[in-house]
């Protein structure tokens, strides 16, 4: 691509990653969550591919796959945290510890330290979606081309 596209991509890739991280981090307070933020952050990989070509994303295949596996394992482990009650029981909600502040019923400003196991699950699913979508994009770029490559 031309130098204009490459310059704008250099600016927009960190912005896309940052906005995806924001959407994941505030997933339990504002619209958004792991899937949406992960999709936004994975668009950075697609932007890299469009702007810099296949060679720029060739090295990202293994890290993205590892990220997806780690996200899936973390999600299942967080589900197993509540196995004393039921699978996926929210043990951290209202416990007073990490992410355990109780929430006043009704409209409130929203505090980041609430949600129990939901914010860690948001991060796990967010990493999983970043890894999954990014890996799909990279795989199409590497192996989906013409016959003579």
């Amino acid at each position: 691509m031309s130098v204009v596209v490459r310059t704008i991509a250099r600016i927009l890739v960190p912005v896309a990653l940052l906005f995806g991280g924001y959407v994941i981090l505030h997933g339990h307070l504002t619209p958004g969550g792991g899937f949406q933020g992960g999709a936004v952050a994975a668009s950075a990989v697609a932007l890299l591919l469009v702007a810099f070509g296949t060679s720029a994303v060739k090295g990202l295949k293994s890290p993205l796959s590892v990220l997806e596996d780690l996200g899936g394992v973390a999600f299942v482990v967080l589900g197993f945290l509540g196995i004393g009650y039921t699978f996926f029981f929210n043990v951290l909600a209202g416990s007073g510890g990490l992410f355990g502040a109780p929430v006043a019923p009704g409209p409130n400003p929203g505090y980041l330290n609430t949600g129990g196991t939901l914010p860690p699950m948001n991060w796990a699913v967010g990493f999983k979606v970043i890894g999954g979508l990014g890996a799909v994009v990279v795989l199409f770029a590497l192996f989906g081309g013409g016959d003579d490559r």
Binding site: L29, V129, L133, F140, D147
Partner: protein
């Protein structure tokens, strides 16, 4: 009839996708038709949960004394969107492989499994 016009519009979207699915030969256009069907169904599901004058089901700075729309269709539509994305990736991969083996994207030429 006029009270449920959004449902009819979603069904029209589904029918447009079905038309592309039935009368187009290019596999990429077939995939696009499937995505249009899926988006119509997702819109229909979200429209099912709308409450008159409702706000988003989020309590952060929610306006007091406002009805909230139903959250369950939204949550399940989120699931549906991600699964649709996964199936789209698989379908496009199959289209790439068919183009690699056949040299064209015509769906009528894929006849190995027809009886």
């Amino acid at each position: 009839m006029i009270g449920n016009l959004p449902f009819v519009v979603c069904i029209v979207l589904v029918l447009l996708g079905l038309w592309a699915l039935l009368f187009r030969r290019n596999l990429i256009k077939v995939v696009i038709g499937l995505k249009i069907i899926e988006n119509g169904v997702n819109l229909y599901l979200v429209a099912t949960g709308y409450v008159q004058g409702g706000v988003v089901p989020i309590w952060t700075y929610a306006p007091p004394d406002a009805a909230m729309v139903l959250p369950t269709p939204q949550a399940l539509t989120l699931t549906s969107i991600v699964i649709g994305l996964a199936t789209t990736a698989l379908m496009l991969a199959f289209a790439v492989v068919i183009h690699r083996h056949k040299g064209s994207l015509d769906g009528r030429k894929v006849t190995e499994l027809s009886g």
